[in-house]
């Protein structure tokens, strides 16, 4: 195995076929004949094979698979030839596991679809081709397998080709290759077969080695979703994230979303020294010349060709859950590096995978594919999936069970958008929900969860986070008793203005002193105190921002809980023990109380 030869490219492809089409055998054959298997692996398979060397055993890794003789889960295989590296996403063809097909196709640029020469084009074949195309694969290899069982008849092969072309002409642009093979015997898998003289094209492996390398990126405008803010010892910041499109160099101007500030890139720091440029698909870190507020979920983008900042978008959805996709249900959408609340606001159509026709629908069930309009509570910075897979895709998550429910590919999005902006406070009157507790007790996390839920319920809602406030409204204030009280009074002032205007204001601030909290309560009136209670030891162990560590080493004098007191509320409206209950339980507890006050 010539793994040391120069690598000219990487091809990620997926394989699909119906049950018994011989897909596991084909992959076993590819690995075996390209000499990518070790002797002990072959011996292990020989031991469990009933008849000679059953290649499928090489890939059916789970006990249930071997027992049932089927492939259950998507598996990844790696092999190399002197010409190229390959990653195979081996996906099961069984209908109930269609979600795995989409999973495998999501990272692939080519799909090998197996057809049993005796059975021809099946509904499953059409489904596999359609899903591959939907996930952005524009190159399909139709491997007509078990040719030995139809006496290598050209007529059979041509009939299958014609039937597939009739279907695929409706798919849209796509490169197609048809190869007659026998995976069991190895005909046209790695080496060309002498038993199929009428076929003069390449073997499957020859074809895979020769398709153009499409991983080399075409020039596209910069997209860098911020993943993580790196702070060094001197507290200077670098914004780390994957380059989803384009490239960036020191001196470039970039647009920060959502703030829409234009900033110059100062440098691209790395462990190996400052970089001259970073490009897709590198994992970059960018230091900016000006101090701006940038965090996870923000995006650095080309100022001339920015992505769409959308709160409403239309997407193709592959649904993967027993629980159907329905309107008026809150989902979480993970898109690049942000997770936002979203609701399906319109079911546009459902795709009939057999006929490729669109029909009306009210919901999407397991394994169904449809077009859906979503509204999100915060803008996402996106491009159409056809233009950029990374900024055009998202997954849907169930906020209650945490399960991944579906995958969505954005077709179109409108700048701004979303009918929810400026909703009248129809649901009730304003109030201030004041989350107090130690650092790392979970105030901001709970605040964000409440924000998402209240927004989804149609309330006007605003979040005042202590950390954010100290970077702007209260910039320059320190941590003396006087400054802390002043900090709280300013937050209280803003909260009161918003509350008066019908907004539900979520304040998350340590606010350690009882007297000033009471002062703010009297001033605002419509005030709910939530004690986010977690023992000091637990908070210190969490130490989300590393502050306790700095406080203990004497770098942060006057730190609440360490050498400055925290005065717990005496009669909070709600108390959440975040060390004992889940975020969901805490959220529900607060919501139950608020509902009684909001109506």
């Amino acid at each position: 195995m010539a793994l040391l030869e120069p690598i000219t490219g990487l091809l990620r492809f997926t394989t699909a076929g119906s049950v018994d089409d011989g897909k596991s055998t084909l992959i076993g054959r590819l690995l075996h004949d390209s000499k990518s298997l070790y002797e002990d692996q072959i011996e292990a398979v020989r031991r469990v094979s009933r008849d000679g060397l059953e290649l499928a055993y090489l890939t059916d890794g789970l006990r249930a698979e071997r027992e049932q003789g089927i492939t259950i889960d998507v598996a990844y295989r790696y092999f190399a030839t002197p010409k190229r590296r390959f990653i195979i996403a081996d996906t099961p063809g069984h209908e109930q596991y269609t979600r795995n097909m989409a999973t495998g196709a999501s990272t692939a640029t080519l799909a090998v679809i197996l057809i049993d020469a005796r059975k021809g084009v099946l509904p499953q074949t059409r489904r596999h081709a359609a899903i591959s195309h939907l996930l952005g694969i524009r190159r399909l290899v139709i491997a007509v397998n078990k040719m030995d069982l139809v006496a290598f008849r050209q007529e059979t092969f041509e009939q299958i080709r014609a039937a597939f072309l009739e279907f695929s002409s409706r798919l849209g642009a796509c490169e197609l290759a048809f190869i007659p093979i026998s995976a069991l015997d190895g005909d046209n898998v790695v080496d060309r077969s002498g038993r199929i003289p009428w076929y003069t094209g390449p073997s499957l492996l020859e074809y895979l080695e020769s398709v153009p390398d499409e991983s080399a990126p075409a020039h596209q405008p910069l997209r860098l979703p911020v993943q993580f803010v790196i702070r060094d010892a001197a507290n200077s910041r670098a914004y780390a994230g994957p380059i989803a499109a384009g490239e960036v160099r020191p001196g470039d101007e970039v647009l920060v979303l959502p703030s829409r500030k234009i900033v110059r890139v100062q440098s691209l720091p790395s462990r190996e020294g400052a970089q001259e440029r970073a490009f897709r698909p590198m994992a970059a870190a960018v230091a900016l010349a000006d101090e701006v507020d940038v965090g996870r979920g923000d995006m650095l983008a080309d100022p001339v060709q920015p992505p769409v900042a959308a709160r409403r978008f239309r997407a193709r959805v592959v649904w993967m859950s027993e629980r159907p996709l329905e309107l008026q249900t809150v989902y979480l959408i993970k898109h690049t590096t942000q997770t936002v609340c979203a609701e399906a606001v319109e079911m546009v159509s459902r795709l009939d995978i057999e006929t490729l026709e669109e029909g009306a629908c009210k919901h999407l069930r397991l394994n169904e594919i449809g077009t859906v309009e979503f509204e999100t509570h915060r803008p996402i910075f996106c491009d159409p999936y056809a233009v950029n897979r990374t900024t055009g895709c998202c997954i849907l998550i169930d906020p209650a069970t945490n399960l991944t429910l579906g995958a969505a590919m954005i077709e179109s999005a409108e700048e701004g958008g979303g009918t929810r902006r400026g909703l009248p406070a129809s649901a009730g009157r304003g109030m201030t929900v004041w989350l107090t507790g130690l650092s790392s007790a979970g105030k901001s996390t709970l605040g964000q969860a409440l924000y998402d839920r209240l927004w989804a319920m149609g309330h006007k809602v605003e979040m005042l986070d202590g950390d954010t406030i100290r970077r702007n409204l209260c910039k320059g204030l320190g941590f003396s008793k006087e400054d802390r009280d002043e900090n709280i009074r300013r937050i209280g002032f803003v909260a009161e203005l918003l509350t008066r205007n019908g907004v539900v204001v979520l304040v998350s601030a340590i606010s350690p002193y009882r007297s000033v909290r009471e002062e703010v309560r009297r001033q605002i009136g419509s005030f709910v105190e939530v004690y986010v209670n977690s023992p000091l030891a637990v908070c210190e162990r969490r130490d989300v921002k590393g502050l306790y560590r700095r406080a203990r080493s004497g770098q942060l004098p006057g730190f609440t809980g360490v050498d400055d007191p925290y005065e717990p509320p005496e009669n909070p409206e709600v108390e959440c023990r975040t060390d004992l209950e889940t975020l969901q339980e805490s959220t529900e507890r607060v919501l139950r109380y608020l509902e009684s006050r909001l109506v």
Binding site: L3, L4, I7, L10, Y38, E39, D40, T59, G61, L62, R63, A64, R66, I72, D73, V74, A75, Y76, R77, Y78, D90, R99, A102, T103, S106, T107, S215, Q227, F228, R231, D232, A233, A238, A240, P242, P269, S270, R271, P281, M282, A283, A285, M320, H335, T337, R389, T390, C393, I395, I397, N402, L403, T404, A407, R541, R542, V544, G546, E581, T582
Partner: protein, 300 residues
């Protein structure tokens, strides 16, 4: 390099993306550091991902007490040089009860000193995400592993109940008590690891390099003598030119005959290798489907 990344840099970028994603979305991640070549690569990737800051998580070594002395020395030196926080966890009650592979057999020994110890260490530290250096190419049940592998509140893996994983969008949502095992090296192969070690000049434990070592030749395996495995009648240690291809506990990591004394020579040897890297890991083969069963119980 002008228009694209080399294959190794592509793998590097993918892995760094995963490391950062976990650091951003979990409250208490930890990196399992097993001292081997994969851990060494994973650690280097973590140093890159958060540069100029240190990785925002500690390292955890589950020490069975049957590791090679050279491994422990390498571990302590590496962590000291890099100024990293290291947690060492041992299943002390089991060790006091004299758990060892000779008395318990390899399966029960592994269950007590590795799996149990790991689960205890994760619970004790309150860790909600743990990085591991496992690769899908290593073993066939690992080929079906996700990058984010969900574990229930008892640390168990249910291969039939994993979340679909599309693109590079990882679902990090878990409830209290549940956790995620995360594998940043999922798409790396053994030879990728060595090529990267060569490219980046990453230090590795000298056990990977061939020299003459005292070993016991038994059932086709070369078993290191470091923890004095009891000899069967008629057996005697021999001296053989060999190296470790995969590092674990001394008794369960068979050596392979080799003359490779440098990374380049190891890569050259792998190019010609006809045997897989885990062949000499005794614990993988105690029964068919052995790795899957261990993973279901909470093994990495």
């Amino acid at each position: 390099m002008e228009n694209g990344l080399s294959y190794l840099r592509l793998l590097e970028a993918e892995s760094i993306h995963i490391l950062r994603e976990v650091a951003a979305e979990f409250s208490r991640p930890v990196m399992l550091y097993s001292i081997g070549k994969d851990s060494s690569v994973m650690l280097r990737l973590a140093l890159k991902a958060f540069y100029p800051a240190k990785p925002p998580f500690p390292l955890l070594h589950v020490d069975t007490s049957f590791k090679f002395g050279e491994m422990i020395e390498f571990r302590d030196r590496t962590c000291a040089e890099l100024g990293l926080k290291l947690i060492v966890h041992r299943n002390e009650p089991a060790l006091e009860a004299e758990a060892n592979p000779f008395r318990l057999g390899t399966q029960r020994c592994c269950a007590a000193l590795k799996t149990r110890a790991l689960l205890d260490a994760l619970a004790e530290g309150g860790f909600d995400a743990a990085f591991g250096g496992a690769r899908r190419e290593e073993e066939k049940s690992r080929a079906k592993e996700r990058v984010y592998s969900f574990r229930d509140s008892r640390g168990r893996w249910d291969p039939k109940n994993q979340r679909p994983e599309l693109w590079n969008l990882y679902n990090s949502r878990i409830d209290k008590g549940e956790s995620m095992r995360v594998f940043p090296l999922s798409n790396w192969t053994e030879v990728d690891v060595w090529r990267y070690i060569q490219l980046e000049n990453i230090p590795v434990v000298p056990l990977y390099f061939a020299r003459e070592r005292e070993v016991l030749e038994r059932d086709g395996q070369l078993i290191p003598m470091e923890h004095n495995p009891p000899l069967r009648p008629g057996e005697a240690p021999i001296t053989a030119m060999c190296r470790m291809r995969s590092l674990g506990c001394t008794y369960c990591s068979g050596a392979v005959r080799s003359n490779a004394t440098s990374v380049a020579e190891i890569i050259g040897e792998l190019e010609l290798a006809r045997r897989s890297e885990r062949e000499n890991r005794v614990i993988d083969h105690d029964q068919e489907g052995s790795m899957e069963l261990k993973k279901r119980e909470g093994y990495f």
